[in-house]
Amino acid sequence: MVDQPILELKNVSSNYGNIRALKGISLKVFPGEIVTIIGANGAGKTTTLMTICGIVPLREGEIFYMGEPIHGRAAETLPPLGLCQVPEGRRIFPRLAVEDNLEMGAFFRKDQDEIQKDMEIVYSLFPVLKDRRKQHGGTLSGGEQQMLAIGRALMSRPKVLLLDEPSLGLAPLIVRKIFEIIDDINKKNRTTILLVEQNANLALQTAERGYVLETGSIVMEDDAKILLNDPRIRKAYLGE
């Protein structure tokens, strides 16, 4: 770990409504890594990502991206820097065509030729999206919508991709496939990935390092393999 972290949270606190959802969490993500945050419902996983992206205002602490502070910046200024999120529950634009959904991912970009090239790359990654590119996003199945949400984020050429529960509500077979693609994106493009998951088993198998979040605080952090074999984790999150 000689590199400088590409994304670093220092003692970050934020509120969700009137509830303190994050109670001073610190984490580091290094370039090219897959890092996962696991935790139960309501532990503050989504809030963490939304705070990084500037949607939920930060109360205390600092967030650094490539050495620069990004806390207090408007949410829409982050994708151009290479920080993009795939939000929880997919949240594609249901009444826009698949193609238009993807183009929205590249909204801030002006290089039309490159955008078209990237769209072809996304289509080669998810051939099913190419077949359905004229369809409304809302008419896709859950798995296809997740692929669309990931594809949309890839259209912004992210350096750091934040993924919020990509396995939510999907059949196990499709979850496997999505995770393979996530791994693929990481290996091929050296895209750094911060993965938030409830499916701890799969997340820890995919990731290199992991953080365990419990009611707004980080209670453990270690290499994913070590966490996977930790008896406490196995008991609390893997159902043993």
Binding site: E76, T77, P79, R91, D100, M104, G105
Partner: protein, 408 residues
């Protein structure tokens, strides 16, 4: 099947009883306090016969008993739609345009007057469509911009003698500015809250117009506004340019037709631009649009300002045509009217809005004899719409068309 129709008839009977209970106080109680049943019963009987016929036909159709009539009809219909689909789009646009241009040649004053009204409201509807249909913000005070445009031209013309064409950009500009002033504090809100605040701002503008005696002459309104004029070449005494006020109704018709075409083209271009897509993304999911790098606040303000510009243009023409403005033309009811046109026609669909405007302006004129029941019919029509065509008369093909047009 039999059980199902039994259920339908039972509901129908309950509906009829309920209708009578509703109709009787409306038609049976008179001003002098007397009560009669006869009139209400007669109307109720008409409704009964009509709905009974419709329902019977529907049930027969559903049970495939009417197949010998419907199947040839369906064939004809399919053939007609296929033939219509085979003709290119520009053919339809061109034929509508030709019809609109030739319209004053074979129509009288009254029809032209109604047509001018329709075109004004088409401009307003398309402007509001940017805010409501594309960006998905419910705006109940849209008519304020119409008022700003109307008063801008009226005042510039009366105070400085500015001609219509010079004042038109000013009207658009001031409407745009007032859109920004209203939009800036309100657009942080979403959904219902935004609707209430815009409703308030709409009323504020009307009340200002009503009370600022020195500037707007209050409820008395402003009189003596000049109609639009044009220069035309004359060869009577050598060559010279003569100035002509377009007072005749059919000249005014062409002016608003021109403005209307301008609006349609502009809205169409906006609709299928990058900005239009961003507006639709905001309508679908504002937070995610922000996560995708869309400056949602700026784009919402832009939508508001753009809508206001078209409202302002329509307003300037309105005052030039009436040659009189007063605050009562800009009441909340007008806002509601424009909004119903957008909703009735189909949000975000340009042909839909044009059709919706036709329906709401022309039909009341056609059925003038039964004006008393206008609101009743209006309510019934809206209810039926929500039941059978909740997406509007001509729903927007939004997505489909845009992607197909790219020829992918």
């Amino acid at each position: 099947m039999i059980l199902e129709s039994k259920k339908i008839w039972k509901n129908y009977a309950i509906g009829l009883v309920w209708l009578f209970v509703l109709l009787w106080p409306l038609l049976g109680i008179h001003d002098d306090g007397s009560l009669t049943v006869g009139r209400a019963f007669r109307v109720w009987l008409y409704v009964l016969v009509a709905t009974f016929l419709c329902l019977s036909l529907y049930l027969l159709h559903k049970n495939d008993i009417l197949k010998w009539v419907t199947s040839p009809m369906a064939k004809v219909r399919n053939r007609v739609t296929a033939a219509a689909g085979a003709l290119p789009n520009w053919f339809w646009v061109l034929s509508v345009l030709t019809g609109a241009v030739l319209f004053p040649l074979f129509s009288h004053r009254y029809a032209q007057d109604v047509a001018i009204n329709v075109l004004i409201y088409v401009c307003l509807g398309l402007g509001l469509n940017i805010v409501v249909g594309l960006a998905g913000m419910l705006d109940l005070g849209y008519i304020a911009f119409y008022g700003v445009g109307a008063y801008t031209y009226a005042l510039l013309n009366l105070q400085y003698g500015m001609s219509f064409w010079v004042a038109l950009p000013f009207a658009a500009f001031f409407a745009c500015i007032s859109g920004c002033i209203i939009g800036y504090p309100t657009l942080r809100m979403r959904g219902d809250y935004l609707a209430i605040v815009t409703l308030g701002f709409g009323e504020i503008v009307r009340i200002i117009l009503n009370n600022w005696m020195e500037l707007t002459n209050g409820p008395n309104g402003l009189l003596g506004i000049k109609p639009p004029g044009i220069y035309y070449p004359s060869f009577a005494h050598g060559f010279s340019l003569e100035f002509l006020y377009l007072k005749k109704l059919h000249y005014l018709y062409y002016v608003i037709l021109f403005l209307c075409i301008f609006t349609i083209v502009a809205v169409y271009r906006l609709n299928y631009s990058r900005i239009g897509r961003a507006w639709e993304a905001i309508r679908e999911d504002e937070t995610v649009a922000e996560l995708m790098g869309v400056n949602t606040f700026r784009l919402k303000l832009l939508a508001y300002a753009m809508g206001a510009i078209f409202g302002g243009i329509a307003g300037a023409f309105f005052s030039a045509r009436m040659r009189f403005v007063s605050p009562e033309s800009f009441s909340f009811l007008e806002s509601a009217m424009v909004l119903s046109m957008v909703v009735l026609g189909g949000m975000a669909s340009i042909p839909g809005i044009i059709l919706g405007t036709f329906a709401l302006i022309v039909l009341p004129e056609v059925f003038r004899e039964v004006e008393l029941y206008r609101m009743l019919a209006f309510g019934a029509a809206m209810t039926l719409m929500m039941l059978f065509r909740p997406e509007g008369l001509i729903p927007a093909k939004r997505v489909g068309t845009r992607s197909e047009e790219r020829g992918g």
